[in-house]
């Protein structure tokens, strides 16, 4: 099950849509050039295809093992992890102060996309470590940073995020774990945490847990939760490892997918208290979590894109090889590969166009994150931050839901063989399924989108985006090229539908939040399709210009236009139907009594 990193499309998006040149002008990004990025993508692609991809299927089949508190990863994992850290990939976007490479998020995102395509279950370990690193960088004391960050950034130690408890899932205000202050300034942490990704494993000598818990005098609810560092092994002042801390992995879950990633139940303080250290100020733990939640959600959204790319490559390769039936409308011809059949084509184009739309959106948002974090101009920082905040729930919600659809189409292209585990197409669907659930379900993303990101500010940011899209649609409608004209018209209609929804949400959110919330997920899908289609339309317009200049890569640019045209006809056309659900769909959803279910 080979995998080739989609480097050409990444370069196109980075250079033409995401504005790599602009990113390279941001403070601290001076070294970034198109050549360097190509070299990084090239070498990252080799690592993804050569090391991570070959153990994806075997890791899924073998799964992680639990034996009396000890968790072992599937064969090949340790070697791959060593290659990953030796290669310096763990530190790609971390700050230089503690040994990171400090590359822009947009480059780290492209690399992460290919690594997750190659092996999503493996990449969960570095992803969670990255989250823990960010939390410490953001809120930890200098002493905590010095003690933990260098070895987390180098990948010598991994990190985890301990939020969920049995009664506290999406609702973290229900967290019950306790932390009791000790005389030496540390804390004893007690409680049980579930769903802890890579909470225990054999890849590194130490694991740094970040744990949400309540102090004895803490107020009820969200304002009484604090954040603690609880290492698996205590770390002495000189950096050497000390005693084993009182945290045990009592079991791992049996899951639909990501089998190779151990999802742990962790028990803290069964033997008198796990030693922990407060991160930042007391009672501000959830607030800290939410600051880094944005990037975590963005990175989970990326998983939807990554799985789509992998599923598409596999389906396209099968469709070219599998001989079945005769070409429609041809008498007496030979048997043909199934790619010749119209419905297979339609499915492959759905997979391809959605994947390219997601990639364009994700990298454009990633560049927005760089500008929001690094620009020296406060106005540019604020404008990009608003755009990023609006788009994070879209990237998370739309890309993960689309990833599931694309992986499912991948199975369909394979026919009966797709349903057989040995083929490998089924794993993508099983793995993709979790991405729409963890780090906030699609429903939570959609509520965040319509409430915090749209209604609260009267739709100001989303209206600005609508304005940009409308401008492009008008430009495209005046083009002489038939495809571009058509894409422009489809974009104009879809944008109008989206704006109708925005007006409805802004007008009714305060009045009837329940009714508006019925349309939250359909609206999230709508906005995903429209902004994804917008990026493909931008790409098509640039491709047309390159073709007019007689660029040597005619086949690549023609394909960009065809793909955008397909997306306009098959996806953007759905916007009007979705708008009807958003604005008129509440009645039936809420009418029945709860007892009637």
């Amino acid at each position: 099950m080979s995998f080739t990193a989609p480097i050409r499309d990444m370069q196109f998006v980075l250079n033409e849509l995401a504005g790599l040149q602009e990113v390279a002008q941001l403070p601290g990004c001076e070294e970034v050039s198109s050549d360097l990025v190509s070299a990084i993508l090239e070498e990252g692609g080799k690592f993804a295809s050569g090391v991570l991809a070959p153990i994806n299927h075997s890791g899924d089949q073998e799964g992680a093992h639990w034996n009396n508190g000890v968790v072992t990863t599937p064969s090949g994992w340790k070697e791959a992890y060593k290659g990953f850290t030796d290669g310096g990939w763990s530190s790609i976007s971390c700050r230089q102060e503690f040994g990171g490479q400090a590359l822009p998020v947009v480059i780290a995102t492209a690399i992460n996309e290919m690594f997750k395509s190659a092996n999503m279950a493996f990449c969960l370990c570095p992803m969670l470590t990255q989250g823990a690193i960010e939390a410490l960088e953001l809120c930890g004391s200098h002493e905590l940073k010095e003690r933990f960050l260098p070895r987390m950034i180098s990948g010598e130690w991994t990190g985890t995020m301990n939020l969920t408890e049995p009664q506290a899932g999406s609702d973290l205000s229900a967290v019950r774990s306790r932390a009791v202050p000790q005389a030496d300034g540390s804390y004893h942490v007690f409680g049980q945490k579930i769903f802890i990704t890579y909470g225990e494993h054999d890849l590194t000598e130490n694991i740094v847990h970040l744990v949400l818990a309540r102090l004895p005098d803490a107020p009820e609810g969200v304002k009484g939760i604090s954040l603690f560092v609880v290492p698996k092994f205590l770390v002495n002042k000189d950096g050497s490892l000390g005693a084993r801390n009182d945290v045990q992995c009592v079991s791992i879950e049996h899951k639909l997918g990501i089998h190779a990633s151990p999802t742990c139940v962790l028990a803290f303080g069964d033997k008198g208290g796990a030693t922990g250290y407060l991160v930042g100020e007391a009672n501000r733990g959830l607030e800290y979590m939410f600051i880094m939640m944005n990037l975590a959600r963005f990175n989970v959204g990326l998983e939807g894109l990554s799985i789509s790319e992998r599923a598409y490559q596999k389906a396209a390769s099968y469709a070219r090889d599998r001989i079945q039936g005769f070409e429609a409308g041809v008498r007496g011809g030979p048997r043909v590969p199934i790619i010749a059949h119209s419905d297979i084509r339609r499915m492959l184009m759905l997979m391809r166009s959605n994947t390219e739309a997601m990639r364009a959106l994700v990298l454009v948002v990633a560049a927005g994150i760089d500008k929001a974090q690094r620009s020296s101009d406060p106005e540019q920082r604020a404008r990009n931050q608003a755009f990023v905040d609006l788009m994070i729930p879209v990237v998370k919600g739309w890309c993960t839901e689309t990833g599931i659809e694309v992986a499912s189409l991948g199975i369909q292209v394979h026919g009966g063989m797709g349903f057989i585990e040995e083929t490998g197409a089924a794993q993508y669907l099983r793995d993709a399924r979790i991405a729409a659930i963890y780090e906030g379900t699609t429903g939570i993303q959609a509520n965040d989108l319509i409430g915090r990101k749209i209604a609260r500010e009267g739709g100001a940011t989303v209206k600005a985006v609508v304005g940009m899209m409308r401008k492009l649609a008008l430009e495209l409608e005046t083009e002489s090229d038939a495809d571009l004209k058509r894409i422009g018209a489809a974009l104009a209609r879809a944008v109008a539908a989206m704006e109708r929804c925005v007006d409805y949400i802004v007008a009714n959110y305060a009045k009837d939040i329940k009714a508006v919330s019925v349309g939250a997920v359909p609206f999230l899908k709508l906005i995903g399709i429209v902004v994804g289609g917008w990026q493909l339309a931008r790409g098509a317009s640039i491709a047309q210009r390159k073709l007019a200049q007689g660029d040597s890569e005619a086949a690549f640019y023609k394909a960009k236009i065809v793909t955008a045209r397909f997306f306009a006809d098959h996806m953007m056309s759905q916007a009007e139907g979705l708008a009807q659900i958003v604005t008129e769909g509440a009645a039936g959803a809420l009418a029945l009594d709860q007892e009637a279910f």
């Binding site: 080739t4 070294e31 050039s33 050549d35 360097l36 190509s38 070299a39 990084i40 090239e42 070498e43 080799k46 690592f47 050569g50 090391v51 290659g83 030796d86 290669g87 310096g88 990939w89 530190s91 790609i92 490479q101 040597s552 890569e553 086949a555 690549f556």
Partner: protein, 249 residues
């Protein structure tokens, strides 16, 4: 001790090669290119000798268009210290490459030249041998083990009958075979560093070499499609087919 590592930019080994419709050659438009896999092995070997303290400097050299710079950067990302590009748009044939390399060797004065046994595009398997002849240096081709000690290099060679070990006096030419080592993946910090390593560009004229091709390509065709197999009923039929159809008996 200085090691010179000649490398070639070739069509990537994963690419399905297509012959141009007019039969004039292979279609290279927008095809992924990368370092010749045998050269990756020689780069790896040179870097290992440098890391082991046996070599003090490693220099990669490539002959070809400006695009070959990218391939040289890859070599430097693996650990090569600096690079030379002999830049030309002329179609390069093995004799011309060997002459260019000879000029570079005379300029750089390496103790060891280590290069891939052949390039996977034209599979000529000639440059190392011609270069040795031009320089009058000893050569050990198809190396699967290289050991340097006291002014000599001991090379285990892969030959048809098995393995042959030879000892050469340095300076010498070694060409690498697949089993010599397993090339590493470039690390991110080294990719960043490679950007700052020196890359010198020379022209064939400056080296006093005329790289013009001496051979003319008449026609390039796809290999014939493999005919389907047939089942034979018994040994007699098999022998008859081998005799009359395959004409090998």
């Amino acid at each position: 001790m200085k090691i010179l590592v000649p490398i070639k930019r070739v069509i990537d080994y994963n690419v399905k090669v297509r012959v141009k419709a007019d039969g004039s050659g292979v279609d290279l438009a927008n095809v992924k290119m990368s370092m010749n896999p045998f050269d990756e092995i020689s780069v790896e070997e040179a870097v290992r000798l440098r890391e082991a303290g046996i070599a003090t400097e490693t220099v990669a050299v490539s002959c070809g268009t400006t695009a070959s710079q990218e391939t040289l950067r890859t070599a430097m990302a693996i650990g090569i210290d600096r690079s030379i590009l002999v830049e030309t748009d002329v179609e390069l044939q093995p004799l011309a490459v060997a002459k260019l390399l000879k000029a570079v060797v005379e300029k750089e004065q390496p103790t060891l030249v280590i290069l891939g046994k052949q390039a996977i595009d034209d599979d000529s398997n000639q440059v190392g041998q011609i270069l040795a002849a031009l320089l009058g240096w000893p050569q050990a081709t198809f190396a699967s083990k290289v050991h340097i000690e006291g002014g000599n290099v001991t090379v285990m060679r892969e030959v048809d009958g098995g393995l042959e070990t030879v000892e050469l006096k340095l300076p010498a030419i070694v060409t690498t075979d697949l089993r010599l080592n397993e090339p590493r993946y470039a690390t991110l910090p080294n990719i960043m560093k490679a950007k700052k390593k020196p890359l010198e560009t020379l022209k064939p004229e400056a080296l006093g070499v005329d790289p013009a091709p001496r051979l003319k390509t008449l026609k390039v065709v796809e290999p014939p499609k493999r005919a389907g197999g047939v089942k034979v009923a018994d040994v007699q039929e098999l022998v008859a087919k081998l005799k009359n159809e395959a004409k090998v008996l």
